[in-house]
Structures are given as structure tokens and as C-alpha cells.
């Protein structure tokens, strides 16, 4: 059945007439809260969105969140591209809840997290940790932005790495790390947006996190070449 039948199940495929389209600003990631301005505008949006996509959209139960959940995530990039085209052709932003500002602040936060990640990796390389990888996992995982995976060879080294990382986090970036306080075969430091995994060599092969997050882009570290 057609997705989010606001006007009841009788809403069949409608021709893409010259319907004045007033789209909502695209939802910015998860948890976007959308204002709804009455039925007629939503139905216009529905009509135009439903027509070109040949893939049937699943019905979603709460109609109040339908405007954002019309795009069935299972259809993937095809629906997104079609929607983008349509919005560019007919789109007109009626109300924007400060969308431009949030994008800029997101970029700032990303830059800060990246600098935190790079400085933590630098600290690790100073203590002679091996095989440091910084993965950008924000597109894959929502609860953090960067993973740092590294190998240490003894408990003392793990202790040194984690204490230096905590110092850097607190002094330069004012972030307190939660996670493992005592060294472990898999020690984890959680700085919120950056999560550090310190493995002993057998554990690194056993858990194989790089394979699990194989889709994440690796950030190149400037000092890695200097080590070798």
C-alpha cells in the first residue's frame, strides 16, 4: 500500500501535474523534528514524491512523521536521487528552521573531532604504538565519528598510551574519557565523538574491527611516514 496514506487508502498514483510544491527542508540526519502545516501541503508533497518512484513505499503508521519517513530507507539511493531532482526542479523552501546554521556548526564540530583524533594518534605514535588507523565512521555509525585502532605490546605501554591520551583530551580539548581504567587485552577509551581501541596483537586479529568497519574511510596521518 502507498506510504503514509494521510488521506486514507484511496490515495492512488496521481499524475505529476503542475502541482505547486512546497517541500520541507530535507531532514538533517536522525531525530529531525518537522513542523506540519496542515493537510493540503503534505498531500502535495506526497503526490509529487510518490509518482516517479516505481518502487512501492511501505506504509508507515504515525502520520505525523510521514513527511520525513516517506522515503523508504530500503529503496536507497535511487529514491534519493529522484527526490533531489524533483526538489531542484520544483522546490521552494517555505520555512527553514535555521538549516544553514546547523550545517556550518556541524562542520566545525567535525573539524574539532578530526583534530582530536589526529592529536591522539600522534600521541600514540610517540609511545611507539604499532599500526595506527583512524577510521571515519560517521556515515556508518551514528553514535560516534572517529575510531582509532592501534596495537600495543605490553600492559605498561597500554597504560602509558591511555594516560597520555587522557591528558591530551583533558588539557587541549577539555574532554574526559570514559572506558577502561585498567589495561586490558582490549582497552577502550571513549571520548564521545572519538573512540580509541587499544589491542594486544593476538586480540587485534581475533576481533578484526577493520574488517567489520571496512566501509569506513581511513584518514591519512601525516606522521606515519616519518615513523617508517
Amino acid at each position: 500500500m502507498r506510504g503514509a496514506a494521510l488521506q486514507g487508502p484511496g490515495l492512488a498514483r496521481a499524475p505529476p501535474a503542475a502541482v505547486p510544491l512546497h517541500p520541507r527542508p530535507r531532514r538533517a540526519g536522525f531525530g529531525g523534528h518537522h513542523h506540519h502545516r496542515g493537510a493540503p501541503l503534505r498531500s502535495d508533497l506526497l503526490l509529487l514524491l510518490q509518482q516517479p518512484t516505481a518502487v512501492p513505499l511501505r506504509a508507515r503508521s504515525p502520520p505525523s512523521s510521514s513527511a520525513s519517513s516517506n522515503v523508504n530507507p530500503d529503496t536507497g539511493e535511487g529514491a534519493d536521487e529522484l527526490l533531489d531532482d524533483l526538489l531542484q526542479e520544483h522546490g521552494e523552501v517555505v520555512y527553514s528552521a535555521g538549516g544553514a546554521g546547523s550545517l556550518a556548526s556541524e562542520a566545525d564540530e567535525d573539524a574539532e573531532c578530526l583534530s582530536l583524533a589526529v592529536s591522539l594518534a600522534k600521541v600514540a605514535s610517540e609511545v611507539k604504538a604499532a599500526d595506527i588507523r583512524v577510521l571515519f565512521v560517521k556515515p556508518i555509525v551514528y553514535w560516534t565519528e572517529f575510531f582509532i585502532i592501534l596495537t600495543a605490546f605490553s600492559n605498561a605501554q597500554i597504560e602509558a598510551i591511555s594516560s597520555k591520551m587522557r591528558d591530551i583530551g583533558e588539557q587541549q580539548f577539555s574532554r574526559v574519557a570514559s572506558g577502561d581504567t585498567k589495561p586490558n587485552s582490549w582497552t577502550l577509551l571513549d571520548f564521545g565523538d572519538v573512540v580509541v581501541h587499544i589491542f594486544l596483537p593476538p586480540q587485534r586479529e581475533f576481533y578484526n574491527l577493520e574488517e567489520f568497519y571496512g566501509n569506513a574511510t581511513t584518514i591519512e596521518l601525516p606522521f606515519e611516514t616519518q615513523l617508517q
Partner: protein, 110 residues
């Protein structure tokens, strides 16, 4: 089967999501590293009984599930299956969350 909830008060009868339990294996697939009647520790990750977050959101799964860990808190397996709630991260089980294929972002879609 659960034998004991670790860190529970004397009058706490049941384990919730995020509790570490001592359990015994009642049934195991053959050729696995763990066998029947071994005593293990595990972290509860999903319960059929609803779990109330502090901000009033209630979450309920269709099954009960736990992740087997060792004495130090490292998961014994390499992957976990099914959805994991974000609350485990605050309870210092970020390792399990990082192995999860799907984590539940509770503060959305309402």
C-alpha cells in the same frame, strides 16, 4: 540459564539490560569453543520485559539476549547479532556497541 546477577542488591530479583550475570550454558551447538554446563559471565543486551530509560522512553524487544564476556569484560566472541541499545555505552560496554551491526537510536522517530 542465569544463576546470579552481579552487583545486585539483596532484594533485586531480576537482571535488566546492562547487568552482568553469572550463567550456565544449557544448550550449545557442536564444535563451539563453549560447551554445555560451563559457567560463564554475560551482559544482558535485550529483554522482552520493557526497559525504562530515565527520560521516560520505554523500549521492549522480542527476545532475550546476552553477550558472553570474560572476567575482564571483553566479549568472548568476535561479533554480536541483533540490535543493541545505546544505553550500554553509558554502562561502559562500548566494546559490545562497537561490535553491533545495528544500534538503536532511541531519541528519534517519535
Amino acid at each position: 540459564m542465569c544463576i546470579r546477577v552481579i552487583g545486585a542488591a539483596g532484594n533485586q530479583r531480576y537482571a535488566r539490560i546492562g547487568d552482568v550475570i553469572v550463567a550456565v550454558i544449557k544448550d550449545a551447538l557442536p564444535q563451539m569453543p563453549l560447551e554445555r554446563s560451563e559457567v560463564i559471565r554475560a551482559v544482558i543486551v535485550r529483554t522482552c520485559k520493557e526497559f525504562k530509560c530515565e527520560d521516560g522512553i520505554i523500549i521492549r524487544y522480542d527476545d532475550n539476549a546476552a553477550v558472553i564476556i570474560d572476567q575482564k569484560g571483553n566479549p568472548k566472541g568476535t561479533r554480536v547479532f541483533g540490535a543493541i541499545a545505546e544505553e550500554l555505552r553509558e554502562l561502559n560496554f562500548t566494546k559490545i556497541v562497537s561490535l553491533a551491526p545495528e544500534t538503536l537510536f532511541i531519541f528519534s522517530f517519535i
